[in-house]
């Protein structure tokens, strides 16, 4: 939403910082999936899935196409019925309730604006459907138009609007009825990058201000990390991990999640020791010994993977104090200069490639480290994680 923020004024920081109902064992889930399975013919879109979403949460369903995230959302909206299992909203069983009787509204990926109605009538559609008195409808629509800064476009038809404006009409229409849950299906996919980033922040502010529960479906991990309180990473109809964006990024529970979110180096090895809170991994692929501050989750002798983000790998021309632990050496193979950072692809003697990111803190006149340099890569004990699956 270009221009001014939708929610100028007081900072919403304190609300956001303290919000973590998922850690509160007494908190009642708002949306509840219990052992939900959904099959289409032979294809299992959602596989025995259980999930709790809390009131006022901004929850993201993230995964590649075909992972079942959209089906999951459509089950909240009522467009799909679970093959088995239960879906509850605010304690009420939703199974069998048709979409037009559910207190949820959805913002569609294609926006699905009614082409034969102008902006005003599009936003008023749901309110008229509820039989709201006319003056109240007018007041509510005007309020919504003001919220998305489209007052001047009320009489336009959808085809006379830009993509960004249409997106705002779709948002206003889905918010007009003050739904208990707002469902966002890839809501920003059609916008250009800059507009998308602005809109992400406005969505967050809007969600906190309105105090609604938002569920967003996206395949864009940056989008999910920006807007969501928690993210569910999905694969083949199952949830692989549910956690806050920071936990997902820093403590992925599997190679799948680690690889799906951001860049990561994965180094295979065998666990040789777990002692004093430190897991030691012998990495055959790199010849390195890796030590990580991590307990449990693995047994000695297990095959495991050391996962470390490129920005947590330091690159240097001189060997570290202890070149045998948490260090590898190789030659600079490729450098990707992205402006804010440079990504170095270092090829080890074993043929494996490890990536390291350097923040470009000064203007780059001449690279201190360049192609074909022999370099050392090092990381700290709490820089990465050991993954067993």
């Amino acid at each position: 939403m270009a221009g001014k923020s939708l929610t100028a004024g007081k900072s919403l920081g304190p609300i956001r910082r303290a919000f973590a109902p998922w850690n509160d064992p007494t908190a009642k889930p708002f949306i509840q999936f219990q052992n939900v399975t959904k099959t289409f013919g032979d294809f299992t879109a959602v596989d025995d899935l259980s999930l709790n979403i809390y009131e006022r949460e901004f929850f993201a369903l993230l995964g590649p196409s075909g992972c079942g995230k959209t089906t999951l959302m459509r089950m909240i909206a009522g467009f799909e019925e679970p093959t088995s299992g239960q879906v509850r909203l605010d304690g009420q069983d939703l199974v069998g309730v048709p979409p037009y009787r559910r207190p949820t509204n959805m913002m569609f990926q294609s926006y699905a604006l009614f082409p034969h109605m102008n902006v005003w009538d599009n936003i008023a559609f749901g309110l008229k459907q509820d039989g709201m008195p006319k003056p109240e409808i007018a007041a509510r629509v005007d309020e919504m138009l003001a919220l998305v800064k489209l007052e001047k476009f009320a009489k336009r038809k959808p085809h006379q609007l830009s993509g960004g404006q249409r997106q705002r009409v779709a948002l206003a229409r889905s918010l007009a009825k003050k739904p208990k849950v707002l469902l966002l299906d890839e809501p920003l996919g059609a916008l250009d990058k800059k507009l998308r980033e602005e809109t992400q922040f406005e969505l967050i502010d809007l969600q906190v201000k309105l105090g609604m529960t938002f569920v967003i479906v996206t395949h864009d991990q940056e989008e999910a990390m920006t807007v969501a309180d928690r993210i569910a990473v999905m694969d083949h109809g199952k949830i692989v991990q549910i956690a806050t964006p920071a936990e997902i990024y820093e403590q992925p529970n599997s190679r799948y999640v680690a690889d799906f979110i951001g860049e990561i180096n994965l180094i295979e090895g065998t666990i040789s020791a777990i002692e004093g809170g430190i897991t030691t991994l012998d990495c055959t692929g790199t010849g390195a010994k890796v030590q990580v501050t991590q307990d449990g989750g693995a047994k000695v002798g297990d095959t495991a993977w050391f996962a470390v983000r490129p920005e947590k790998v330091a690159i240097s021309l001189t060997p570290p104090a202890d070149p045998n632990v948490n260090a590898v050496t190789g030659e600079v193979w490729d450098i990707a200069y992205l402006g804010d950072v440079s990504i170095y692809h270092v090829r080890l003697s074993t043929g494996a490639t490890v990536k390291a990111t350097i923040t470009n803190t000064t203007r780059l006149v001449e690279r201190p480290i360049t192609w074909d340099d022999k370099v050392w890569l090092t990381w700290s004990r709490d820089g990465g994680v050991v993954l067993t699956r």
């Binding site: 037009y100 294609s110 009614f114 749901g126 229409r173 889905s174 009825k177």
Partner: protein, 307 residues
């Protein structure tokens, strides 16, 4: 796709473009405008016992002066005559009425069929479309004769109903105006279904999901979303059916009774039974004038849609 270089020089291209534009115009002039002018000319002539049965006959070989004399002989008596005999305006009105009611009935029958086709499984749609077009493979006349076989007193329908014991006396469906309605609805149905199917098939189904999401049950969603968005197809289908139905001759002639008054029949009787070419030409010209109104309305509606 590889770009192919055009071997035609710009000069040739200009000439070719003119040719391409000229072909449809030539077609219209030769096959529409010229016959219409001939009919118009006959309509302002007077009957004569001759071959052809009217005067004056324009003779372009006898010089401009003679042509002028012939022009001066033109009369509008035939048009005046049309207003004097009640048969003509009654035929016009009856034709419009039958066409209007038929159009409505065809819309009523055709819309559910088109809707069902558009909502059918994707792999079924070509087959269903084929079934709609299939009747065109048989001559129109033969299909109307087939309806005679079905509807006549000793026809298939009566035999079936008698056999089932629903009736004990054959129904007199044919000849009657009811049979004409049946015939028109049957014959023109594809012209309604095809444009309706084309618009309904393009309808984005997420719009219906959006309507449901905003609290709109399916039947209301049909009237608020599907029907308004299918209006271009409804309008096209109605005009495609209405315009030819007004001038329909074969169906009222074969299935209709003596009380079924349609302008096509009147025109035919005037032309072949009375051999009054000038009056029948005047009937045709007036029919065209009447039909120009809905045709222009149709074109306006089409323009609105494309905007």
């Amino acid at each position: 796709m590889a770009m192919t270089t055009d071997p035609v020089t710009p000069g040739h291209a200009g000439w070719l473009r003119w040719l391409v534009v000229a072909v449809p115009y030539l077609w219209l002039i030769l096959l529409f405008l010229a016959p219409f002018l001939i009919v118009l000319k006959i309509s302002v002539s007077t009957t004569a016992i001759a071959m052809p049965p009217y005067t004056p006959v324009l003779d372009f070989t006898s010089g401009l002066g003679a042509l002028w004399e012939q022009f001066q002989e033109f009369s509008f008596d035939n048009y005046v005559f049309l207003t004097e005999d009640a048969l003509y305006w009654k035929s016009y009105l009856s034709s419009l009425q039958i066409a209007l009611i038929s159009t409505f009935l065809i819309l009523l029958v055709g819309y559910p069929i088109a809707y069902g086709m558009a909502r059918a499984k994707r792999e079924w749609r070509p087959t269903l479309l084929m079934l709609v077009i299939l009747p065109f493979w048989t001559s129109f006349l033969i299909r109307v004769y087939a309806w005679m076989g079905i509807l006549k007193p000793e026809g298939l329908l009566n035999q079936l109903l008698l056999w089932l014991g629903v009736i004990d006396q054959p129904l007199n469906i044919m000849p009657s105006t009811l049979a004409v309605y049946i015939g028109i609805v049957y014959s023109y149905l594809p012209f309604m279904i095809l444009p309706l199917y084309a618009t309904l098939e393009k309808l984005d189904e997420t719009l219906l999901e959006a309507a449901a999401d905003l609290g709109c049950p399916p039947i209301q969603a049909f009237w608020k979303i599907t029907f308004p968005l299918s209006l271009p197809g409804v309008v096209a289908g109605c005009f495609l059916v209405f315009i030819p139905a007004v001038g329909e001759f074969v169906i009222p002639d074969l299935l209709g009774g003596s009380d079924t008054l349609m302008i096509g029949k009147t025109l035919w009787a005037e032309f072949f039974s009375n051999r009054d070419w000038p009056v029948s030409s005047a009937v045709a010209v007036v029919l065209l004038a009447i039909l120009v109104v809905p045709i222009m309305l149709f074109q306006n509606a089409q323009k609105k849609v494309t905007e």
